[in-house]
Amino acid sequence: MVNWIWLLLIVISIVFAAATGKVEAVTEAAFDGAKTGVTVSFGLISILVFWLGMMRIGEDAGLLAKLARLLGPLVRFLFPDVPRNHPAMGYIMTNMSANILGLGNAATPMGIKAMQELQKLNPDKDTATPAMCTLLALNTSSITLIPTTLIAIRMNFGSAHPAEIVGTTLIATAIATVAAILADRWFRRRVPPHQLAINNTSASNRSGAAGGSKEVNSGV
């Protein structure tokens, strides 16, 4: 999927440039884009070094575990079919806490651990269980307290108030998460498990096509 988007953008650009006589401008834009990519990445160093340092303090102080405990009731409500003492619960709570704190590097391994534990409860190893879908929904909308990358980019381009988007982002992400939870609940009730094998071949094909794409997780 990502391969196709990338290729399409480049091919369309060249064809379009040839048609409108902007070939030189497009060539220049290619190199200019590469330069911006490097400049922005370097601009991220300061914020990422600082923020990952702060987050390690939080981790060492047990904030992750503390937050995970606070999320307990919510997680039990969201995952009614996972036994309370199952190890999956712990991983789910840690995954959610890491997402909230913006610890992308910790969130993904914990999420995968949670998936592996949920897979043990799965009678049909090929097909996602409702609990897996819920965990995925939470991760795609991922509540984040501080969008560090965006703050760094805004700083790079001379924003007067780089952090002014913290509030708007927090509200938007909360709304997206609530929407994900509601949609997940709705599908969970609507689709009985035995019909799924027929209904969802198309969805699995689409995700299969994306397999192997190594993308930077935007959580960084």
Binding site: W6, I12, I14, A17, T20, K22, A25, V26, T36, G37, V40, S41, L44, I45, V49, W51, G53, M54, R56, T108, I112, Q119, K125, D126, T127, A128, C133, L136, A137, N139, T140, S141, L145, P147, T149, L150, I153, R154, F157, G158, S159, H161, A163, I165, V166, G167, T168, L170, A172, A176, A183, F187, V191, L196, N200, T201, S207, G208, V216, S218
Partner: protein, 177 residues
């Protein structure tokens, strides 16, 4: 509403910066050593982004310079004008669920062109920060355990992306008006 959101924006970071080390010191953590230890990873993370961001920035800069982006934006402009939404942000809505580096590159391009403190810059930042890349998360999480039938997971992810996109625009128009 505006007061509350700007208070949140101003105080969120300083509160965390003071709360985390204080809480840690209270729990007998050597705060400075912890900080340095964790901070080491920041450099590698930033460097690892370079190939992704360069690749995507090249494609998107070319797409803009060729005039193809403008044509795409013009096509949907009438509809967005009625709602008072800058149509430049629409391609971001399409890119966001599909590619994290691509949407980050487009956000960067918008911020570079229109300025970080323009309405377009603010909306783009909010959209980029508020959801994760659905396709990436789906591939990694289900790929790791060999799930092939993903049921309704993709639909839920895309629906929440759409809601997040609309919410980000609405909130920015409301707050930064």
């Amino acid at each position: 509403m505006y007061e509350f959101v700007s208070m949140l924006s101003i105080w969120a970071i300083p509160m965390m910066i003071v709360f985390i080390p204080l809480y840690a010191a209270f729990h007998k953590v050597p705060v400075y050593e912890s900080f340095v230890d964790g901070a080491k990873g920041g450099f590698d993370t930033a460097i690892q982004i370079i190939p992704h961001l360069v690749g995507m920035m090249v494609a998107i800069s070319m797409f803009r310079a060729s005039g193809a982006m403008e044509l795409m934006v013009q096509a949907i402009r009438p509809l967005f004008d009625i709602l008072g939404i800058p149509s430049e942000v629409l391609p971001l809505g399409a890119l966001r669920p599909l590619t994290g580096a691509g949407s980050l590159a487009y956000t960067t391009e918008l911020i570079k062109t229109y300025g970080p403190d323009s309405m377009i810059g603010r909306i783009a930042s909010t959209i980029q920060g508020s959801t994760d890349t659905t396709l990436y998360v789906l591939t990694v999480y289900f790929g790791a355990i060999g799930i092939r039938k993903t049921r309704y997971a993709l639909k839920v992810g895309l629906f929440s992306d759409l809601v997040g996109f609309a919410a980000a625009i609405a909130i920015c128009l409301l707050i930064f008006a």
